[in-house]
C-alpha cells in the first residue's frame, strides 16, 4: 500500500517519472558509494573518535591481531603469534613480507614507533583510554616486539585487535598525525587515493595486501570505495532512492520497512554491539533531589515498557536489556541483575512511598532517536514525572553530563567494541567526569577488578557490580541496539554484530 502511495506521488509530480533512471555511479563504474554520517576530523585513527573513523581505519590499516566479527576469537593479523609473559607484558611475533601502501616493508620498528608515539601524552591522541595504559613498546628483533603496560590490564587484547592500527614508522615520524591525516599510508586491503578532509575519501583496492589476511577470507571485493559525508539520515535515504549511494545503515525501523518494499533494494537487520540505557543522577548535583531516592529511580525503571518500545519503535533484532553492559561481554551476568518488569502500579506505589505521589519535573537529555526519547517521556508522564526533554547533540550532552547538569540521560555506548563489561563501568562508575552515581563501593570494585587477570575472580567483582548497580537503579538499562542496513540488490554485503561494516568484503552480485 505504501509503495503505491510513493509511486502515485511520483506519478503526480511529473510525467518525467517515466524516464529511464540513470544511476550516477555504482556497479557499472565499479565504485561502491557509501555514506559517512560523522565528519572524521582526521583520518588518523588515533586522532578521531567517531565510528566512521574506525570503519575506514579497518580498511586502510591493519592491527596486530584480528578479532573475528562472528566468533569474537582472536586471529593472527600483522602478528602471527602473541603471548602474555606476565600480567603487564605482551609479546608479539610479527608477520614477514607485509608491505605498506607506499612500498615500505613492515617490521618491528613500525609497531614500536606507532605505539610509543600515540601513547605519549604529549602527542595528545584523542582516544586516550585506548592507549594510556601502554608503558612502552620495545623491539626484541626485527619481527618481534614487547609491549609493556603500566599496570595489569586484562582487556588489553581487545584494544590491540580493535583500536591499534599500525602505521609505517618512518613515514609517520616524518609527517606526523597531520600528514597521516592528509595522506594516509597503511597495510590494509584498501589504500586512499584521494581525500577531502572530513568530507570525502576515495579508496582503491590494494592488490599487495598481505596474503592470508584474515580480512579477505570471504574473498571478492570491489575496486573502488567512495565514502562521502552525508550527515543527514533523510539525505542518505534520498540518495539511496536516487541512486547516489549504494549502501547505508542505521536506517530507522520505519523507513527500513518501506525501503524493504522497493524492488531494487535489500534491507538487512543485524544486532550491533551497543546498548541504550537511562543514566540517572543519583547524587542530586543536577538539582533534582527526588532522584537521590532509590525508590524513585526504581519507579522509573518500572515505568518504561521496554518490550512495547522494542516491538513498535526500535524493532529488528534489538533485545530487552536488564544489565548495564552488553550481554555477550565478558562478565555481563544477567542472572545477578535486579529485573524491573513493566509495572505502572508498582512504579506509582514507589513514587507515593517516596513522597512524590504528585510527581516532579525533571530534564532528560538524549541524542539518539527522538521517537525513543518521546516514548520515554510519555511513559514517565504516566507515573507523574514531568519530563522536559532536551534533545541535543552528543558532544553537548556529554559536556553537560560531565559538569553534573543532567538529571536523566539517555546514553548509548558501543564500548569501542571491546568485549569486556568493565570498559563501560570504568568510565561511568569509576572516573570523575562521567560518573553519575558516585558510589564508592562500586568504584572500588571496578578498580579492583581491573587489576585482576584471573577471570573467575574478576567475575566475582563483576557480579557484585551488576547486582548493586541494578538494585540501586543507577541506570535503567533499556535495550540492545540493532541496525538496519539497506543496499542495492546489486550488492552482496554481510553485516556484523560489532558495528563495523566491512566494505572490503562486499561484492557485486
Amino acid at each position: 500500500m505504501k509503495r503505491r502511495q510513493l509511486l502515485q506521488s511520483a506519478a503526480v509530480m511529473a510525467a518525467g517519472a517515466m524516464l529511464p533512471r540513470s544511476a550516477w555511479a555504482n556497479k557499472a563504474a565499479d565504485t561502491l558509494n557509501v555514506p559517512l554520517t560523522f565528519g572524521i576530523e582526521n583520518i588518523d585513527r588515533y586522532y578521531n573518535s567517531v565510528v566512521d573513523g574506525g570503519i575506514l581505519a579497518r580498511h586502510i590499516w591493519d592491527t596486530l591481531i584480528y578479532r573475528d566479527p562472528v566468533t569474537f576469537a582472536y586471529k593472527p593479523a600483522l602478528a602471527t603469534a602473541w603471548r602474555w609473559t606476565d600480567d603487564k607484558t605482551l609479546e608479539f611475533d610479527l608477520r614477514q613480507g607485509v608491505k605498506f601502501h607506499n612500498g615500505d616493508d613492515f617490521s618491528a620498528d613500525d609497531v614500536i614507533f606507532t605505539l610509543n608515539f600515540v601513547s605519549n601524552p604529549a602527542n595528545k591522541a584523542t582516544g586516550q583510554d585506548n592507549v594510556n595504559f601502554i608503558e612502552k613498546a620495545e623491539k626484541l628483533s626485527d619481527y618481534k616486539v614487547r609491549v609493556q603496560l603500566k599496570h595489569s590490564f586484562p582487556p588489553a587484547l581487545e584494544y590491540v585487535s580493535g583500536e591499534w592500527p599500525i602505521y609505517p614508522g618512518k613515514y609517520y615520524e616524518r609527517v606526523g598525525p597531520r600528514g597521516m591525516g592528509e595522506k594516509p599510508v597503511g597495510t590494509g586491503p584498501y589504500r586512499v587515493v584521494s581525500l577531502v578532509p572530513s568530507r570525502e575519501f576515495v579508496l582503491e583496492r590494494f592488490d599487495e595486501h598481505y596474503k592470508d589476511s584474515p580480512k579477505l577470507e570471504k574473498g571478492g571485493n570491489i575496486p573502488r570505495i567512495k565514502a562521502r559525508l552525508l550527515p543527514d539520515m533523510a539525505t542518505q535515504v534520498a540518495e539511496l532512492l536516487g541512486g547516489g549511494i549504494d549502501w547505508m545503515w542505521y536506517v530507522p525501523a520505519d523507513q527500513a520497512e518501506q525501503l524493504a518494499q522497493m524492488p531494487n533494494l535489500t534491507v538487512v537487520n543485524e544486532e550491533v554491539f551497543r546498548t541504550g540505557s537511562l543514566v540517572i543522577d543519583a547524587t542530586g548535583r543536577s538539582g533534582v533531589p527526588a532522584l537521590k531516592d532509590k525508590r524513585v529511580r526504581k519507579a522509573i525503571a518500572y515505568a518504561i515498557n521496554r518490550q512495547e518500545m522494542i516491538d513498535n519503535l526500535v524493532k529488528g533484532k534489538s533485545k530487552r536489556l536488564d544489565v548495564p553492559c552488553y550481554p555477550t561481554q565478558f562478565g555481563c551476568n544477567a542472572a545477578k541483575a535486579v529485573v524491573y518488569d513493566f509495572n505502572v502500579q508498582k512504579a506509582k506505589d514507589l513514587m507515593k512511598e517516596a513522597g512524590f505521589a504528585d510527581g516532579f519535573s525533571v530534564d532528560m537529555y538524549a541524542w539518539r532517536s527522538r521517537e525513543w526519547s518521546e516514548a520515554i517521556v510519555a511513559y514517565l508522564a504516566a507515573i507523574g514525572i514531568r519530563v522536559n526533554l532536551q534533545q541535543m547533540d552528543y558532544f553537548a550532552i556529554r559536556d553537560l553530563m560531565r559538569s553534573g547538569k543532567t538529571p536523566i540521560t539517555f546514553i548509548d555506548d558501543g564500548y569501542y567494541r571491546l568485549n569486556d563489561s568493565a570498559t563501560i563501568w570504568q568510565r561511568f562508575f569509576a572516573k570523575a567526569p562521567d560518573d553519575q552515581a558516585h558510589d564508592d563501593e562500586v568504584k572500588a570494585w571496578v578498580e579492583a577488578a581491573a587489576r585482576i587477570n584471573d577471570p573467575a575472580k574478576r567475575q566475582e567483582f563483576y557480579d557484585r557490580i551488576i547486582a548493586k548497580v541494578t538494585d540501586e537503579a543507577y541506570w535503567a538499562p533499556l535495550f540492545t541496539f540493532s541496525t538496519n542496513y539497506a543496499f542495492t540488490k546489486d550488492l552482496a554485503f554481510t553485516p556484523n554484530i560489532d558495528e563495523m561494516p566491512r566494505w572490503y568484503n562486499a561484492r557485486w552480485t
Binding site: 502511495q5 519503535l313 510519555a378 522536559n388 553537548a396
Partner: protein
C-alpha cells in the same frame, strides 16, 4: 500649488472619519482579508485547541503508529485510515489533528512573544535614539549595525545548542536577535516626529520625555510598528521552524509544526502526508501573516507603497 485664486480647492470626495476610511480600505484589500481570515481561523483554532482537539495531543499509543489520514481511505483504500484520526497519527501513535491544533498555539505563541520582545527592545532603542539624538543615537546606531552583522541563524543555533533548548530559550534568543527592524523604523519616525508641532507643544507644556514618547510619539508610529510586528512574527515562526528542523528548536513532546516537519522528514519519501500536513499549515500561517502585514501597510499608508520594509 499656490494659485492666485486660493480658495477654489475641491473638497475631499467623502467626509468619512479616518478610522472608517481605513476600515473601508481593509475590507476592499483582498490580500488583507485573506490573510486576516486565515490568521483569525488559526488564532481561534489555537485558542480553542483544548475544545476542538479530538484527542490528547500527548497521548501515545505505539500500536497505532502512522495511521494515514482519512483521505487515504477514500482514495487509496487504506484499511488503517479511520475517522477516529482524521489526519492520521504520528510516529508515536499520537493524533495528528490534535497535534496540529495545539501546534498552532505554539507557532503563534513563539511568533507573538518573540515579536513583542523584539518590539519592546527595538522600539525603546529606536525612540531614545530618535528623540535624544547625539550620543544616544550614536550608541543605538552602533548597536543596530552590530546586530545587522550578527549571522542570525548561526548565533541562534549556537546559543540553543550550548544553553539547551526550551520554548523559553528560543523565544528569548529570537527576541534578542530580531529587534533591528523595529529600531530602524522607530528611530527614523521619532526623528521626524520629534520636531512636529504637537510634540513641541507638549514639551513646552512641561511633559517629561517619557510621557512625550509614550503618548505623543508612539501613537503616531503605531501603524508602521504593527506592520513590522507582523513581519517579524512571520520571521520568528519561520526561524523557529528552521531551528526545530535542525533539531535545535522547540523540544518534544511539544507539537511544534517545525518539529513535526523534522520528525516526519525521514518518512517523507514514503508517507508524503506526514510532512505535507504541517508543511501546508506552516506555509499557510506565514503566508497569512505576510498578507496581513502587506495589507496593513497598504491600508494604513496608502500613499507610501514602500517595499523597503520587506
Amino acid at each position: 500649488m499656490n494659485d492666485a485664486t486660493a480658495t477654489a480647492a475641491p473638497a475631499p470626495a467623502a467626509p468619512e472619519s479616518p478610522t472608517a476610511a481605513t476600515l473601508h480600505r481593509m475590507r476592499r484589500h483582498k490580500g488583507f482579508m485573506i490573510g486576516a481570515g486565515i490568521l483569525a481561523v488559526m488564532v481561534l483554532v489555537g485558542l480553542l485547541a483544548p475544545l476542538l482537539a479530538p484527542h490528547d495531543p500527548y497521548l501515545q499509543s505505539l500500536a497505532k503508529r502512522r495511521i494515514p489520514p482519512i483521505w487515504h481511505a477514500w482514495f487509496y483504500g487504506s484499511p488503517r485510515a479511520t475517522t477516529l484520526h482524521l489526519l492520521g497519527t504520528d510516529q508515536l501513535g499520537r493524533d495528528y489533528l490534535s497535534r496540529m491544533l495545539y501546534g498552532a498555539r505554539i507557532s503563534l505563541a513563539i511568533g507573538l512573544s518573540t515579536a513583542l520582545i523584539s518590539a519592546v527592545i527595538g522600539t525603546a532603542l529606536g525612540m531614545l535614539a530618535g528623540y535624544f539624538r547625539g550620543h544616544v543615537d550614536a550608541v543605538v546606531s552602533f548597536l543596530i549595525s552590530a546586530r545587522l552583522c550578527v549571522p542570525l541563524i548561526l548565533v541562534a543555533l549556537t546559543v540553543v545548542a550550548l544553553v539547551g533548548s526550551s520554548l523559553m530559550t528560543l523565544i528569548l534568543v529570537l527576541g534578542l536577535l530580531l529587534w533591528d527592524r523595529f529600531a530602524v523604523i522607530t528611530r527614523t519616525a521619532t526623528m521626524q516626529l520629534a520636531n512636529a508641532d504637537f510634540v513641541l507643544a507638549s514639551r513646552a507644556a512641561g511633559s517629561s520625555w517619557l510621557r512625550i514618547l509614550a503618548s505623543e510619539i508612539f501613537p503616531n508610529l503605531a501603524n508602521a510598528w504593527i506592520v513590522v510586528l507582523t513581519l517579524e512574527m512571520a520571521n520568528a515562526i519561520v526561524i523557529e521552524a528552521a531551528l526545530s528542523f535542525l533539531g535545535l528548536g522547540v523540544q518534544a513532546p511539544l507539537p511544534s509544526w517545525g518539529l513535526m516537519l523534522a520528525e516526519g522528514r525521514n518518512d517523507m519519501f514514503f508517507n508524503p502526508w506526514i510532512i505535507a500536513i504541517p508543511g501546508a499549515a506552516l506555509f499557510a500561517l506565514v503566508l497569512a501573516i505576510n498578507l496581513l502585514g502587506d495589507g496593513l501597510r497598504d491600508v494604513t499608508a496608502p500613499e507610501g507603497r514602500g517595499g523597503a520594509l520587506a
